[in-house]
Structure formats: structure tokens, C-alpha cells
């Protein structure tokens, strides 16, 4: 499985990319493989304030639902509307299919995220 070195990872199997104080969040290749074919993404509301660890939205496969958490505190600035009718894009390209973006309010929380090697070790891949 592929876990790009350029990304950070969470214990809930999200990937995080940070640029200019904005975190872009999706789910990892491992997460989509565990869930199977995704059929629905319940996108978060833009403008919502979230704390690190809050449930922000859900991704759903034929047989399972997974909650997507906020890795960092901040305000949801964008949701990927393209996924509303194409949840399967996450299966096809998990790192190209971001789910939502957060304007980060506390940069100190970045240290809680894992690098690719640590994440790989955690999931045993």
C-alpha cells in the first residue's frame, strides 16, 4: 500500500496535508481498503468550528460506515462537492480525493500527527 511521505497521518486513518495554515483531509489507502467500495460521503457543513477529535463527517460503504474526525482544531472552509456523487473516487485515488479542509487555529497540534513510517508501523503495513 502507498502512504506518501509528504503527508501526515492520524490514528483514525485520515491523511492530512498542510499548506499555509490550511489542512486538507482525506482517508488513507488502508482505510478505504478496510471499508470496501464507498457509496456515500456525508460531507461536513462549511463554516463549522471543530475541535481536534470531533466527528466531522462520514464515509459509507455497502456494508459499513466510518466517521471522519478532525485531526486539528479550526474552521471547516471547504468540502469536496465532487465526492457527493462519486464516493468511489476515494477508492480509486484516496490521496487525490480530499474530503474537507480546515483553517487551523492551533499550529501546536501538528506535533500529534504521525509521519508515514510511524503510521505504517501502527497499522502493520
Amino acid at each position: 500500500m502507498n502512504f506518501p511521505e509528504s503527508l501526515k497521518y492520524t490514528s483514525h486513518d485520515e491523511w492530512v496535508s498542510i499548506t499555509d495554515g490550511v489542512a486538507t483531509i482525506g482517508i488513507t489507502e488502508y482505510a478505504q481498503d478496510q471499508l470496501g467500495e464507498l457509496v456515500h460521503v456525508e460531507l461536513p457543513k462549511v463554516g463549522r468550528q471543530v475541535a481536534a477529535g470531533d466527528v466531522v463527517c462520514e464515509v459509507e460503504s455497502v456494508k459499513a460506515v466510518a466517521e471522519v474526525y478532525a485531526p486539528l482544531a479550526g474552521k471547516v472552509t471547504e468540502a469536496n462537492a465532487r465526492l457527493a456523487d462519486a464516493a468511489e473516487a476515494i477508492n480509486q485515488d484516496p490521496y487525490g480525493s480530499w474530503i474537507y479542509r480546515i483553517a487551523i487555529t492551533d499550529a501546536d497540534q501538528l506535533s500529534s500527527l504521525m509521519d508515514a513510517a510511524t503510521y505504517r508501523a501502527k497499522i502493520g503495513k
Partner: protein, 365 residues
Amino acid sequence: MTDLRRTPFHARHVAAGARMVPFAGWDMPVQYRGISGEHNAVRTAVGLFDVSHMGEIRVRGPRAADALQWLLSNDVAKLEPGQAQYNGLCNHQGGMVDDVFAYRVGPEDYLVCVNASNRDKDFAWFSEHLPHRDRCTLVDEGDDWAQVAIQGPRGVEVTAALTDVDVTALGRHRFVLATFAGVAGCIVARTGYTGEDGFEVFVPSARAEPVWDRILEVGGPFGIEPIGLGARDTLRLEAGNVLYGHEIDDDTSPLQAKLGWITKLKKAGGFLGSDAIAARRETDVTRLASLSFDGKRIARDGMTVLADGRAVGRVTSGTLGPFVGHPVALVLVEKALSAIGTPLTVDVRGNEAQGVVVESFYKRS
């Protein structure tokens, strides 16, 4: 966790890269290439299922028919040798111990196929409540039989190519004793749980292992592929078939679960639970309904069903229907709201999914 049991085909599933999960004490394949693809292969071509985890109870003897007529809800007296019949196994309160299939193998010989999750419970129930025990015998044959299901529009061609007798003319719920895939002493039945034409084959477990690859080989030209328990569940749900532990359980009457067609309250002498079922007919307030959705949100087992904002029942099973292409759910709701065309809402983790009660989600053409 205790050691999981393995069917004779376990190594085949692992070799094929199936995702294995614990189910009713067995290590079973939940999916191979993916639930939707497997599901649609069964709807459009043919699929092969390992259902060896199912239990089998043998009832033999001069009073076997009478004994089963008392214990089971359908009219077992109507069964001729070579016929199979769907039945409820009910308790004294009118709930369901299980749903089972009874096969009349010979004049005084019946095989009852039971859910894997209920195998021990059902055998204990039979042991305690089967009447005429001086004139019939009871054997748990769950370890003696492997079972495969070959389901889908091309299932008959695959099964015919593997069986030494003609199965193409076999009627629904009829079976033959035959040599199947080179193994003598198999029961080849035109039954299934998927909503498609197809067969379920009981194979003596000691000789079953090579059968799996043989079916895939012979079925190859017909497009056969192995199907996991995930698609087995979405197929049965799309077809509106009930599952013990979801639509039916020890508290739910077969009439609530829309199983009146296998609940023969008027058969001579009644059956265990028939009086309670009759008495509950007026007092049970809920009834099963099929809820179809246009939107994307998927109602799941346990979610609350609402009508005009009021809680009126719960979801017993829900999924995206991979073939019909929209979410479907079976729901247990207030009787008056189970009528076809009734709009009902499901609370999907705080969001509403708007559905409508339908007659069925899918009927094969």
C-alpha cells in the same frame, strides 16, 4: 476468542485472497473482489457460495412426519419425497426460534437445514420438544455436510454440467439425490436465498474439498465467481428475504415478519406456538415493511423510523441495493404504517433519509 471452525473450502477462500471474518463461530469469507461486483454477478450470471456453516438436523422414523408437523409452522404433511419447504420454528410465546428449510429425503427421512448461528439452540430445541420420540430419531448432522449454493440466471447450466441426473426440469423447492462434481450421495436442491434461480447442494463434508475448484472450473464459461457473506446479505435483503437476528427472532411472530404464507395456523392439531401466534395477531402492534429510498443516505440496522417526526419503529436491516442502485431497508413499524405507498423517514445519525413503503425492491424477470 475460541478457535474458529473452518469449512472444507477454507483454504480455497484464503488462496483466492478473500477477506475472512468470524461468523457464528466460523472463519468465513465476507468478500472476494468486492460486494457490489459479486452481488451483480449473481443477478446477471452466476455465483458460488460456501454455506457449509449452515446446520443440518436429521429426523427419521415412522412418526418423523408427524413430529415435524408439530414442531414446524408450514404444512409438512404436504411434503413428498424430493420436496423442500420453508418453515418457521416457533416457541410457546409465538416468537421464532429460527427459520429453517425441511427436505423430505425419503418416506420416513427428513433433513432440516438451520441457521449457523442457531445450530446448537435449534438442536437443543428439537431434543426437548420433538414429539413421538419413541418412533423417530434425531441426529445433529451439521458436521457431516458441506454446502454450496450456485445462484444466478446461469446457475442451472452450471449445476446441470456437474450433476449425473437432469436437474434442468427440477421445479423450485424440489431436489434429487445425485453424484455432484464427482461426489456421490449429494442432495441437489433448487432452492436459494438470493432472489435468483439456483441450487443449493449438500455435499458429504469428508469428500467435499475438491468440489469447490471443480465448480469454478466448470462454471468458468458461464461467468461464475465466488461470492462472500457480504453479498449474500445484500442479495437476500434486496430480494426481501428475512434473516434471523434481524427481521425475526425469539420475540417476533412470523405474522409480524410477513411469513403468514408459511404459518399454517389451521393445520390439523396446530403446531407448537400456533395458539400464541393466533392470540398475538390482534395485540402485536408492529409489522415488517420494505422501505425504498431515492437519496444516498443508507438506513442501517437499529436506526429509528419516523412518521411526521414521531418514532414509529426501527430498521431491522439496511444497505445500498447494489443491483437496484438505491438504499433499501426492512423496517418493523406500526401496522397502519406498513401499507404500500406510506412515506416514512429514517433518522440516519441525525440526518433524515426519506423513504416509501414498497411491495418489493427486486423481482427477477
